[in-house]
């Protein structure tokens, strides 16, 4: 991300330091992760210490300080999906991709995250890939779905 893009986001919030979390969320959603330089630029633009920004970027789950893979797998670990066997789906996906939640594989193909209730518990267990929900998952079925992603 270049300075111009960051400045634009900061300007949207009138350079208000209290909007720090909102600004980081906008950067995260445009860039899919928060590069160190971007944080530095935000620190300068808002005149807040970089350490405070780092505190926030690590405190909240929405932020990633490392780049994401081409496809983002979100496995719902909400209570409803859990009682319907989501952890067996997670174990199988972990085994297949070789990554744990929060990680990205070496080919930058998949990033894996666990999430809570996606609001479609009737279809549980649910996994979401690049924002598209796949319902009534089971271990073998989840692997079938993953095959469709390059």
């Amino acid at each position: 991300m270049d300075k111009e893009q960051i400045d634009k986001i900061v300007a949207k919030y009138h350079g208000e330091p209290s909007a720090l979390i909102q600004i980081l969320l906008d950067i995260q959603s445009e860039n899919r992760w928060l590069p160190g330089e971007a944080l530095q630029m935000v620190a300068e633009a808002l005149d807040v210490p970089l350490t405070r920004i780092q505190h926030i970027a690590t405190f909240y789950k929405a932020f990633s300080l490392v780049p994401k893979g081409r496809h983002e797998i979100h496995i719902c670990m909400g209570t409803a999906c859990h009682v319907r066997g989501a952890s067996r789906v997670l174990d199988t996906v972990e085994g297949h991709t070789g990554i744990k939640p929060g990680e990205t594989d070496l080919d930058m193909k998949f990033s894996l995250e666990t999430v809570n209730c996606l609001g479609c518990c009737a279809l549980g267990p649910v996994i979401e890939i690049d924002g598209k929900p796949h319902g009534r998952m089971a271990p073998a079925k989840a692997l079938e779905v993953l095959k469709n992603y390059e």
């Binding site: 979390i21 409803a80 271990p139």
Partner: protein
């Protein structure tokens, strides 16, 4: 859009909207809630728009994507007005037939109407379907009629008349009095009396005060706040403005989790529209009252649902709780008096003001008035959002509305209150839901998550699940929570893995006691509840795990083995083809055998083995029988020999 400057102008605009929206004009209402969208509602909406256009009906028939109707189990849900015919599980392929037969020919497509799974009895209107019939949908009911992006839809149903009444016909003190009289209690957590909280802030010193919507919805198994905010954002907004008036606040915040982008979008549109009509901004409805609303997206931290943490987050900082010797109602955001209420609490406010406290108190029990929305999920036939009067029994919610447990399994427990709540066993199904009733049995109302568990759910694992969630979400500020939860999780994990020891239960109880007394915020103080309630009602499951290394629900991975019964296996090869670990030694006409050292216990074979064979079983607490010898594995098919 004209700016509305008085109650009279509001009524005139409302009449005009009503007359334009020709009541008799047919309209197709398609649920676009998160559940139906996941089942393909967006494609169904597109198909309706295209087909109606194709058949040249675009001027006569409207289409509308609405908020969640609640019956997520049978989504996508489509309702045809004015006849209110309800079609379930509609697919894009069904659309041409619906348009030709029902919209044009007024004939019902039988296969798409509700049919009771047990009796086969049909019902073609939402109001006749048992799922809806046994509810009282004051708050979520309007979702069905409203396009959430249209303020006019909301106004046509009487929206913003409560605001007009509050600002122009009542004093702030009268509004406060009405809320107090209604005995409305907070829908987000502890059930604190809303009127009392408002009064505390109103009487607190300071000119600048805030009112805040808690739409963080941290409970990992619930989505009712999301559905209200996505489906009817104006109802929450109207409640918030009324609250601002009563408390004397000129600024409102909505703290909404960023994982709910549609809720954020619909809310932003709602704020814009309300501002254009003059329900927000300066001199609202000519009353002299000024009020504005800012949306703060939460960046994902369960603890930020707690009031002091949420307010710190609004200030742009890491949301950690603080001790609350002084209530946030007195010192909240930037140390100013701040009233925080849950989404559903706010959505009840316009109803109470418009219809009166006496109307509201007709529903519910002595101490818990009104209705409550529950997110009824898990092992239940009718997954969805249900709104029932307080005092309805758990049995009625689960069996009458929810339609019971699927697959002929037996009900075991219902979990309420999210990670701070507990599990309630079958023997207590006649409990009437209410704030105090649920607390008394070791659970709590929480925000309305209701997760149904059947005999296949391990209660020790449920306790472990919630502590795992909380270990991750503890902000780390205080030791009893940060370390206590971690230690409890470690012991519980050991127990579920067959590494439990005598004395573990007592150690857990000790840790639970310390966290319950000494943790700083309610996250830590209530964290032991899932453990304590499962121990209270299902102690024998803990003991079986610890003493016999057995999981009675056959659920804990480390304590079970999958086994194919050689007498039942017909060598259909279904499981061996699908096993992700290639752990099944089989082949044509050869009885299948699971190689236990390769098996990852994913359960695929158990799920896919055809029910007419039922050859795959789970074993716990006993050794797996040795594989049958090679030569005994050949199956000779009788039918072929003849």
């Amino acid at each position: 859009m004209p700016r509305i400057n008085s109650p009279g102008e509001l009524e005139a605009v409302r009449r005009e909207i009503e007359s334009q929206a020709d009541r008799a004009k047919p309209c197709v209402l398609i649920c676009a809630g998160s559940g139906c969208i996941a089942s393909g509602a967006a494609e169904v909406i597109a198909a309706f728009r295209a087909e109606i256009e194709n058949q040249g009906l675009a001027v006569d028939i409207g289409t509308k994507g609405t908020g969640c109707h609640g019956f997520c189990e049978r989504g996508p849900v489509v309702v045809l007005y004015p006849e209110e015919i309800c079609y379930l599980q509609v697919k894009p392929e069904d659309v041409p037939e619906i348009v030709s037969k029902t919209l044009k020919g007024k004939e019902i497509v039988e296969r798409l109407v509700y049919a009771d799974r047990a009796t086969g009895e049909k019902a073609s209107r939402e109001s006749e379907i048992p799922f809806y019939k046994n509810q009282q949908r004051h708050v979520i009911g309007s979702n069905v009629r409203i396009d959430p992006k249209s303020i006019e839809d909301y106004m046509a149903l009487g929206g913003y008349t409560a605001l007009s009444k509050a600002l122009c016909d009542m004093t702030a003190v009268e509004v406060l009095g009405e809320i107090k009289k209604s005995n409305l209690r907070g829908r987000g957590g502890g059930g604190f009396p809303t009127g009392r909280k408002w009064e505390e802030s109103r009487n607190a010193p300071g000119d600048i005060k805030y009112v805040i919507v808690n739409a963080d919805e941290g409970d990992p198994g619930a989505y009712m706040d999301r559905s209200v905010l996505e489906g009817n954002p104006h109802s929450v907004l109207e409640g918030l403005i009324i609250g601002g008036w009563a408390v004397g606040a000129c600024q409102g915040f909505v703290y909404v989790r960023q994982e709910y982008p549609l809720a954020v979008e619909n809310l932003m549109i709602a704020i814009e529209q309300a501002t254009e009509y003059g329900f927000l901004g300066q001199n609202i409805l000519g009353s002299g009252f000024d009020f504005k609303v800012t949306v703060h997206r939460g960046a994902g931290a369960f603890v930020c649902g707690e009031s002091s943490a949420l307010m710190t987050a609004i200030e742009g900082k890491a949301g950690e709780p603080r001790p609350k010797y002084i209530h946030t109602a007195i010192k909240g955001v930037w140390d100013r008096p701040s009233v925080l209420n849950n989404v559903e609490t706010w959505a009840n406010v316009p109803l109470i003001i418009a219809r009166g406290a006496d109307w509201f108190t007709q529903f519910g029990t002595e101490k818990s008035k009104g209705t409550k929305i529950f997110s009824l999920v898990g092992k239940i036939n009718n997954t969805g959002l249900v709104e029932v009067p307080m005092g309805t029994t758990l049995r009625d919610i689960i069996f009458k509305v929810g339609g019971g447990i699927p697959g002929g399994r037996k009900f075991k427990a219902v979990q309420t209150g999210g990670p701070s709540g507990g599990c309630i066993p079958e023997s207590m199904l006649d409990l009437e839901v209410g704030f105090d009733e649920l607390s008394k049995v070791g659970s709590m109302m929480g925000s309305g998550g209701m997760i149904i568990m059947d005999e296949d759910t391990c209660m020790v694992d449920v306790a472990r699940y919630f502590l795992d969630f909380l270990a991750d979400e503890s902000c780390g500020k205080c030791v009893p929570c940060r370390e206590g939860i971690r230690q409890m999780l470690k012991i519980l994990t050991n127990i579920t893995q067959g590494k439990g020891k005598e004395g573990d239960i007592e150690r857990l109880e000790e840790l639970a006691e310390v966290a319950g007394y000494a943790a700083l915020c309610a996250l830590g103080r209530t964290a032991p509840n899932p453990f304590l309630s499962t121990l209270k009602y299902f102690r024998e499951e803990y003991e079986a795990h610890i003493r016999d290394k057995k999981c009675p629900a056959l659920s804990c991975k480390e304590l079970i083995a999958y086994y194919i019964d050689p007498n039942k296996c017909r060598a259909c090869m279904t499981c061996s083809k699908q096993c992700p670990s290639n752990a099944i030694d089989g082949g044509k006409n050869r009885i299948h055998v699971i190689e236990q050292d390769k098996c990852t216990k994913c359960g695929t074979c158990f799920e896919v083995c055809p029910s007419r064979f039922g050859a795959v079983t789970k074993i716990s607490g006993a050794p797996v029988p040795p594989p049958i010898p090679e030569e005994a594995r050949i199956i000779t098919r009788e039918s072929k020999q003849k």
